[in-house]
Symmetry: C2
């Protein structure tokens, strides 16, 4: 994800508007530990702007995903998480505490790319390792 000011500029270029809510969501994403859910972002921004609506958070996250500034992750939790690090990489998920780690990996998954793709045009790949962190191995 690019710096907040560049995101605002990118919004304008698309005819979208820069509102205080969106700016705040951008900042929350930038400062958020890692891989927050929509609800996580919502709670962060509510501390600063208590009237912010969850629908606004969802709309803004959708825009960022469409713009390619944010990656939507589905890690089998029944809800989405969002990743500001958009360069291709892998994830490692603890099945105990649900912590998510970024892992270096070939962005294009060139090594994995199947030879027989049944005519499919492949856009991207997602690699997730599931396991248990040191604390959850007990």
């Amino acid at each position: 994800m690019r710096p907040v000011d560049e995101l605002c500029e990118a919004l304008r270029e698309q005819g979208l508007k820069v509102t205080p809510q969106r700016r705040l969501i951008f900042e929350a994403l930038r400062d958020s530990p890692n891989h927050p859910s929509a609800e996580d972002v919502y709670h962060l921004v509510r501390d600063v702007m208590p009237d912010m609506s969850l629908a606004t958070v969802y709309h803004t996250l959708d825009h960022l995903v469409t713009m390619g500034e944010l990656v939507q992750l589905d890690l089998g939790e029944g809800k989405s998480r969002y990743d500001t690090y958009t360069n291709g990489h892998f994830h490692l998920v603890c099945q105990g505490c649900r912590e998510v780690l970024d892992i270096a990996g070939d962005p294009d998954c060139a090594d994995l790319m199947p030879t027989e793709t049944s005519g499919y045009q492949i856009d991207r790949c997602e690699v997730v390792f599931y396991g248990h962190c040191p604390d959850c191995q007990a």
Copy 2:
């Protein structure tokens, strides 16, 4: 997923019971095209046993997943799909029609396995390619 009779035996071994509903769900999974959702399974079994409850389907699928006879897939659709082919392999998803193809791939993801795992014990990995099938490339 093993044959229906073996699944029934496996249930009994765990102190679980073999009911007509569960047998039917096993058969539906065995005969189902590929990667059905809970709702898909529900509709298949309703044709034979109209009083079957969706909760029963969910409970039974959960047991199979826990027993390692079924793999639960999260492909970012807001719902789970289930895969009877439990040997490690990859998936290719069409973002247009949501068709899901099985793709051969190293079950252990040995080539991908990160060297630095921060002390994590890794249980399994999931590789999903997203793209467009021939029909949806228009």
